[in-house]
Every structure is written in structure tokens, then in C-alpha cells.
Symmetry: C2
């Protein structure tokens, strides 16, 4: 079961975007009257359509755009739809909040245990600078920061996973994607990577995490990163 | 004097390629009769012409090639020039030795002290997979592994430094290159990065390190990474 590299999805898998952003909004924009949990959930739901659109635009010769830019556009749309007023500075501060997301309680120890077994790398839709800030914020040790940015694309575009394999000198079967979202794992599985699903039942608030995908052969399902380390040892 | 990112040259600056490779050669190819210090020094001298040639070839539309490939070609030439016989497997093992270079005694603690002050990133001519293996071999904690590979080029091509700035979202003046080689620092300085020279007097054997470049304004000169952390604090 030895692999050369473990690739980690970040938002949801390593860090609690929802709880962190709701708290962050209360801090930076506490004066504004808003249903912050509702805003944050709408904002997160706008994320995948926004990254998917960039992948389509890229295929048609358009430019790659980073997550800061996409998140700002999505946030503006979410606030407009909810008729929520917010200053430019507060909007910018909310976007920066994606660099200050708290790790789940098991993340730091789990990453340390897993890097005893293989190269650990992020494989995030967040760009390199954002992920670097995020790992530092949570004091998370990871061997390599990889990002969809290095393929000028976004997951689940196969180019993103293939670029990670190329940079880490891995055959697909020598790498494992660790994620809490089915679409990400299914994309990796189609390319021949191994896969591990981490249940994050609090991702969307209590009881709101994704279910494990049921069509992936050999999928490992765990409740935490240390449990994954135990399974791979 | 605060910067967002510290970029570290690796071979020579963080790790002792010469002592490590001489020992490695004695281990993997000890049966072969060879002047290993002479072979290793010739091999290292062939490095920059080889990477410079790739930069020129790239400008003419040629492919980028990684350091494993270049090192193997250089090693074959060095051994041929010295009429030294060595098996294919031993040659391959020597090339792999570049992933098993010992850090200098101050490197691990210095990197930890410096990451309290800024994002730490490698900026090596070694490709990402090689540098990842090397950092793990020496148990060196670094926030981000960056490589000339991400610009499909080699230092001192300006594209390499500019790509690092782009990925770390840095203006030139917000980044500092830390290196023990004048050519590397001079290239960074021309682009407006800050610079720090670390003396590594044992790089080429006793008394064989580079001298500090004398034409760089604001250059910091230190004898170790912890000393650099003290200077930047």
C-alpha cells in the first residue's frame, strides 16, 4: 500500500472554511447586519461554478484567474442577491479570510504522521501564495505546496492532477488523493490515482458533510487523518 | 526590513553537496577505483554550463530538461574524460545522490527561525520532486518548494525569479534571495529583490567557498542562517 505521494485537498479536507469564515465575518464586518452563515454558504456554493467557468474559458483561450479574483466576484453577487450592503474594505477582508481558515482538530497531527509515510503535498484550487499563507496560519507542516494554479486550471480538470504527478515524479498508482468531496476523488480515480475519503461531517455545519462516493474501487474511508495514517502503515 | 518571502538557493546554500556526494560515491561505487573528490568537483563544474545550455536551447524553442537528465549526461562526460569505468547502475545511483545531500549544521535551525519572519521557499535549479526528496532527507522544514522547473528554465534566467515572485504574490522588494553564489544574487538584485549572502567556506572543500559579491547595494552578508534571522529580526 506504499505510495510516493499523498495529495491533500485543502478547503474542507484540512481546514474548516465555514466555521472560520462565519467567525471572520463577525470580526471584520460585525457592524453590517447580515445572515453570515447564509452568506458564507451561498458564497461557498458559488465557488465550483466559478472555477468550472474558468476551466471552460481556458479551453476557449481565455486567461486563468486566481481564487482571490473569483471569490470577490462571487461575494459581490451573493451580497447583491441578498441586498446586503458591505464596504469595499470589508469585502476585501472577507476574501482574505480564505487565508485564515482553522485546521480541523486532527489535521496538524495527521499531516505529521502521514509525512512519515510519503511525500505530503496540497493539491488545492487555492493558488500557491494563498495556500502558503493558510498552511502558515494553521501551523500545518506539508512537504510541498501544489495548486491547480501550476496547471493554469482548476480541479476537477484532469490537467491539475496530471501536473501534480509530473512535478512529484509519480505514476498515478504511486499517488493518493485525500479529500472530503466525491467529485475530486472521482476525477483522481479516473486517472488511476489511489483515493482516500475523509469524512468531514461538520463541513457544511452540523450533519452537512459529503457522503463517501460509492463507485470507487479501493477507496479508503476514514474519519480523520491519523486514522488514515494507521490504515496506510 | 520585513519581507513577505525568503527564497533559498539549495545546493551549497542549504546543503553540502561536495562532502555528501564524495561519501555517497564511496558507498555506492566504492569498488570502482576513482579519484572521487576530483570526479565530484568536475561534475559540479559541469553543472552550470549544462543548465545554461538548456536556457539557450529553450530560447530557441527546445525542450526543458530536468536536473537528473543533465547530471547523468555530465557525469558520463566527466567519467569518460577521466577514463573511469562505472556501471550504469552505479551512475544512476550517483545521480540519485543529489537527493541525499546533508544539510549544513546550521540549516535546519536557521530555516525554522527564518520561517517565524516570512514565508520560506526554496528557489532551486533542482526540480520539485528532487527538492522535495532532499528536504525530507535532511528533515528541513520549508513552507514552499519552488524550483526553476516552474518557469521551465534555470537560474540565473530572470524568468525563474519572476515566476517565484508571481507564485508567492510578491513585489521584488518584498522578497529576499538567500544564496552562497554571487551569480545567483546578482541576477536577483538586477530584478529588485533583496539579497543575503551566506558564506559557505567549505562548499568546495576547505577554503573553497565563493566570495561575497561586492557590487550589490544593501547586500546582507552572514556566516549562517541563524545569523541571518538575527539580522532580519
Amino acid at each position: 500500500m506504499a505510495v510516493r505521494a499523498l495529495l491533500f485537498d485543502v478547503f474542507g479536507t484540512l481546514v474548516d472554511w465555514r466555521g472560520s469564515l462565519i467567525d471572520h465575518a463577525g470580526t471584520v464586518a460585525g457592524d453590517a447586519s447580515a445572515d453570515w452563515p447564509g452568506v458564507i454558504d451561498d458564497w461557498r456554493r458559488a465557488y465550483k461554478p466559478a472555477t468550472d467557468a474558468v476551466v471552460r474559458e481556458r479551453a476557449a483561450g481565455g486567461p486563468w484567474r486566481d481564487l482571490d479574483e473569483l471569490q470577490r466576484i462571487s461575494l459581490d453577487a451573493v451580497l447583491a442577491a441578498r441586498s446586503t450592503d458591505l464596504s469595499d474594505a470589508d469585502r476585501a477582508a472577507l476574501v482574505q479570510g480564505w487565508r485564515r481558515l482553522r485546521p480541523w482538530p486532527d489535521t496538524a497531527a495527521g499531516l505529521l504522521a502521514l509525512r512519515e509515510l510519503a511525500i505530503t503535498a496540497t493539491l488545492s484550487n487555492g493558488h500557491v501564495g494563498l495556500v502558503a499563507d493558510l498552511m502558515r496560519f494553521g501551523d500545518l507542516r506539508i512537504d510541498v505546496v501544489l495548486s491547480a494554479q501550476l496547471a493554469d486550471s482548476y480541479k476537477p480538470d484532469p490537467a491539475v492532477y496530471l501536473r501534480a504527478l509530473e512535478l512529484l515524479e509519480c505514476e498515478p498508482a504511486d499517488a493518493m488523493l485525500v479529500a472530503c468531496h466525491a467529485y475530486d476523488l472521482e476525477a483522481a480515480d479516473r486517472l488511476g490515482l489511489r483515493t482516500a475519503f475523509v469524512r468531514r461531517p461538520a463541513e457544511w455545519g452540523p450533519g452537512g458533510g459529503d457522503e463517501a462516493p460509492d463507485m470507487i474501487r479501493g477507496l479508503i474511508v476514514v474519519d480523520s487523518l491519523p486514522e488514515l495514517a494507521d490504515r496506510l502503515r
